[in-house]
């Protein structure tokens, strides 16, 4: 059916891809073309099937129906052997996963070479490989130090290694699954500049993102999945935020607007608090959170946010200073004590700290309150009560899963976040610590999180919002403090701040310089 003219320049074609997991259709008859030099953004709600589709393309899953066609050399399309990552690599498809797949204890160079040569040949082929990589780095602007160990690299650098790995294998098609979810705004800008350059060089690029601004700024074309089906495929020039949001969720999204809060008495206070060591340590931090307010913490990641979150989560002791809740000192903190004191904690790394993937959705929803009478009697679990409550939470928080008994690891990234939100906010906490709460969430879910955080504030809770997303911070926070190298600035009312001065302070200039 497809005429020759239409095939011109097509480097990748998905043709009627359908993938089912049991009763669930993760992809339904999806067809998609990618042209040479094109940047295609793939959008869709959490659980819409984006990652699944890319996994089929790369051979991790086998489609139940449909086929993947590639044109490695820019001439005719031929069918790609399904279910073989090796074949996908051979055909010039490179993939950067949502979670990186690098060996932490090897150098960047070893990681890039791994799997391309036989191990015995590694040492001999090193010099030419290094030359090729240096050339690639110069051309694409992706710079990493090849001899550094992966464990010493920042997230952004690790991602660059992943991209280089794909380019080194002569990828003609590059797929990136939510590449900016873990990047700072500056790193994201650099990434997109690089992608533009690569596309100009003739690479076809697909990236998945929930951030509409970057989609609009950096893609040529947008494809939208909803419920596993492709519902739109159009040039980016014809889109705006509203339209994209509507296409994704099927109805208009009202962006949450903060009404002025009415902060009350100091609720949670850090006094000259220090903790942790190394780059991410906290130094001499004073923080006062009042009830009924959202206090935003702005900063480039790696400046002490993680330690701050760990302290408030009860996972890291203070080495100096004190922490009080409602005027009472919290001594030897533990996660349990924090939960029992009415602190809800939304961890930054939800896969690592948020859920137990092998356990069911309902068990994960109950895990923080497993010793509460509603979940156990005399040490025996009350399964039917747990599942009943899980079903209610699944409905209330719109968690997309097959049932409350499915293992949590099978849920999409955004839906895993909703499990954490549901179980923490459900307890009517006094203080909410939200670390990057909308990372990886779709627009609908993000606005839902925002609504829930504002609702918690309005009923008198204090919310500490740690985020790298300045829009999110400005929209939600009553006051914003900036964290830099472990020091926390005074918190200023957010209406007196603007993005420019915040950006400068995040980079380490103090308030007077910025003014």
């Amino acid at each position: 059916m497809a005429g020759l003219a239409q095939d011109a320049g097509v480097v990748l074609r998905l043709d009627g891809i359908t993938k089912r997991f049991g009763a669930l259709t993760a992809n339904g008859d999806v067809s998609l073309d990618l042209k040479r030099g094109e940047i295609l953004a793939l959008l869709g709600e959490n659980g819409a099937g984006k990652t699944t589709l890319m996994n089929i393309l790369f051979g991790h899953y086998v489609a139940d129906e449909g086929r993947v066609m590639v044109s490695p050399d820019g001439t005719g399309l031929s069918e790609l052997e399904p279910g073989s990552p090796h074949a996908a690599l051979q055909a010039g498809i490179g993939m950067v996963h949502q979670h990186f797949t690098l060996a932490e204890n090897l150098s960047a160079l070893d990681n890039i070479l791994l799997g391309t040569e036989r191990l015995a040949a590694l040492s001999s082929s090193r010099a030419p490989a290094r030359r090729k990589l240096e050339e690639l780095m110069a051309r694409s602007g992706l710079t990493v130090s090849l001899d550094a160990r992966i464990s010493q690299l920042s997230v952004g650098e690790k991602q660059r290694v992943e991209i280089l790995k794909a380019l080194y294998r002569d990828a003609r098609v590059l797929v990136l699954d939510e590449p900016t979810a873990v990047l700072t705004p500056q790193e994201s800008d650099t990434l997109f500049a690089t992608l533009k350059k690569l596309a100009d060089d003739g690479l076809g690029i697909i990236f998945i993102s929930h951030k509409l601004a970057e989609v609009l700024a950096s893609s040529h074309r947008v494809a939208v999945l909803r419920g596993g089906r492709k519902v739109a495929d159009l040039p980016t020039a014809e889109c705006d935020r509203r339209k994209l949001a509507e296409l994704m969720v099927g109805h208009a999204i009202v962006e949450t607007m903060r009404s002025p809060g009415s902060p009350g008495a100091p609720l949670f206070v850090l006094n000259k608090a220090s903790a942790g060591h190394g780059r991410d340590a906290l130094r001499d931090v004073d923080l006062t959170l009042r009830s009924g307010e959202i206090l935003g913490i702005a900063g480039v990641s790696g400046n002490g946010q993680t330690t701050l979150a760990r302290v408030i989560s009860g996972l890291e002791p203070l080495t100096h200073g004190s922490m009080t809740l409602e005027g009472k000192a919290i001594g030897q903190a533990s996660a349990r004590a924090m939960i029992d004191n009415g602190l809800a904690r939304i961890p930054e790394d939800r896969h690592h700290d948020g859920i137990v993937g092998a356990m069911s959705v309902s068990e994960n929803l109950a895990i923080e309150s497993i010793r509460k009478p509603e979940n156990q009697r005399l040490g025996l679990l009350r399964f039917s009560a747990m599942r009943e409550r899980a079903r209610n939470l699944i409905k209330a928080y719109d968690i997309r899963c097959q049932s409350e008994d499915s293992p949590a690891r099978l849920l999409s990234g955004g839906n895993i976040q909703k499990i954490v939100l549901a179980r923490t906010l459900e307890t009517v906490p006094k203080v909410v610590l939200a670390a990057q709460p909308s990372r990886g969430l779709d627009v609908g879910a993000t606005s839902d999180v925002h609504k829930r955080l504002l609702a918690a504030r309005d009923r008198g809770a204090g919310v500490i919002l740690i985020s790298e997303d300045l829009d999110e911070l400005m929209r939600l926070s009553d006051r914003i403090a900036v964290i830099h190298r472990g020091h926390l600035s005074e918190a200023d009312p957010s209406d007196t701040l603007d993005r420019g001065s915040l950006g400068l302070r995040m980079a380490g200039h103090n308030a007077e310089d910025a003014a």
């Binding site: 129906e65 052997e81 996660a335 939960i339 948020g354 137990v356 092998a358 025996l380 679990l381 293992p407």
Partner: protein, 360 residues
């Protein structure tokens, strides 16, 4: 062409199927050395089946052999579920046996319904305490428990030998390094006349029911599973990770200790340094073969026990060495480890792309 595709959660029937397939594969592989030993495969296996199931005596012998394996298998399974790598069931078994002998050979005299529970509790406690050390070293100082539990096996065995040569040596033992005999009032009763099968089997079966119930239905079991699957998330969610490890360590050691109690107070009647032919290590195979499930442990222990008892009997009849049993058990373990692949991945065999299309 073989292709691997990750799959979703494993159903119980698939897990059972894979374990059985692994056992069968091990038996098939063992046919090769059997053939080299000049034994026809059919003859060898029929002798083994006869040796394990051929008579009431054979069958009860097999069950007697399975008794300690169920308990050490449970000890390993429950620890591994929490990712506490207890390789020391062998040492804990001896500690349990030593404690049973210490309280059961005349220090206390009481009627059986008092003395037997004392012996059982003493053995369980001793096993648990032995495992407490490595557990605390792990939780406090981060010392690798694989190393500590493994090395403790040798230390405990040497300690047992020392006791048997010294303070606990039976003066009536004609110089043999063995303990005084367990009092009749402290011995676990036999289950059948003129057979060696004893109440240890009942203890083992009750223990496996108990562990099943614990893991599945209780808060402690929930916490064990959570810690084992993702300790970071469990800690973040306020689950007492250290306490959970300590509980698991005590329980695991206690189960292995019970195996020692059964052997000494149910079967042998006195303690020697060769009480266990590696029941603690075989427990690891049993637990792995069982996929760490308590019900599976019972089945796997019966399988391994049949192999051992059957091979002994075959060896007596033919002169082929009973090392064959160790070989089969080792192969079963390998097959199970490989079969883990089948549980996590769907394996598709494809001739070529066109075949694939035709098939769909």
């Amino acid at each position: 062409m073989i292709r691997f595709e990750p799959r979703g959660p494993s159903s119980v029937s698939r897990m059972l199927g894979v374990s059985i397939a692994a056992a069968v594969a091990a038996l098939l592989l063992a046919a090769i050395p059997m053939a080299f030993a000049g034994l026809s495969v059919f003859e060898g296996y029929s002798l083994m089946v006869k040796g394990a199931f051929g008579s009431l005596f054979a069958f009860t012998e097999m069950l007697t052999r399975a008794t300690p394996l169920i308990l050490t298998g449970l000890a390993v399974a429950v620890a591994f579920r929490a990712k506490l790598w207890n390789i020391g069931a062998e040492g804990q078994l001896y500690a349990g046996a030593l404690a049973a002998v210490a309280v059961g050979t005349g220090v206390i005299s009481a009627p059986p319904y008092v003395l037997i529970p004392i012996v059982i509790v003493a053995g369980a406690l001793a096993g648990g305490l032995v495992m407490l050390g490595p557990t605390l070293l792990k939780t406090r100082l981060g010392v690798d428990e694989v190393v500590t539990t493994l090395l403790l096996n040798f230390i405990i065995l040497l300690f047992v030998q020392m006791m048997l040569e010294g303070p606990m040596k039976d003066p009536m033992g004609m110089g043999w390094p063995q303990s005084e005999p367990i009092l009749d009032a402290a011995a676990l009763p036999k289950l059948m006349d003129r057979m060696r099968i004893h109440w240890g089997l009942v203890i083992a079966l009750v223990a496996s029911l108990g562990v099943y119930f614990l893991l599945k239905r209780t808060v402690w079991g929930f916490e064990i599973r959570a810690v084992g699957e993702n300790a970071a998330a469990a800690r973040h969610a306020g689950i007492p990770v250290t306490a959970t490890f300590i509980r698991v360590g005590l329980l695991s050691g206690a189960l292995a200790g019970l195996a020692g109690v059964g052997e000494v107070a149910g079967l042998k009647g006195y303690l020697t340094a060769d009480l266990s032919p590696g029941f603690g290590y075989s427990g690891i195979v049993v637990a792995m073969l069982a996929g760490l499930s308590p019900a599976g442990v019972v089945l796997a222990a019966l399988f391994i026990a049949s192999i051992f008892v059957g091979a002994d009997s075959m060896s007596r009849a033919t002169g082929v060495s009973n090392y064959l049993a160790d070989l089969i058990v080792a192969m079963a373990l390998l097959c199970v480890l490989v079969s883990g692949l089948f549980l996590r991945f769907k394996i598709r065999f494809v001739g070529s792309q066109t075949n694939q299309e035709a098939a769909e």
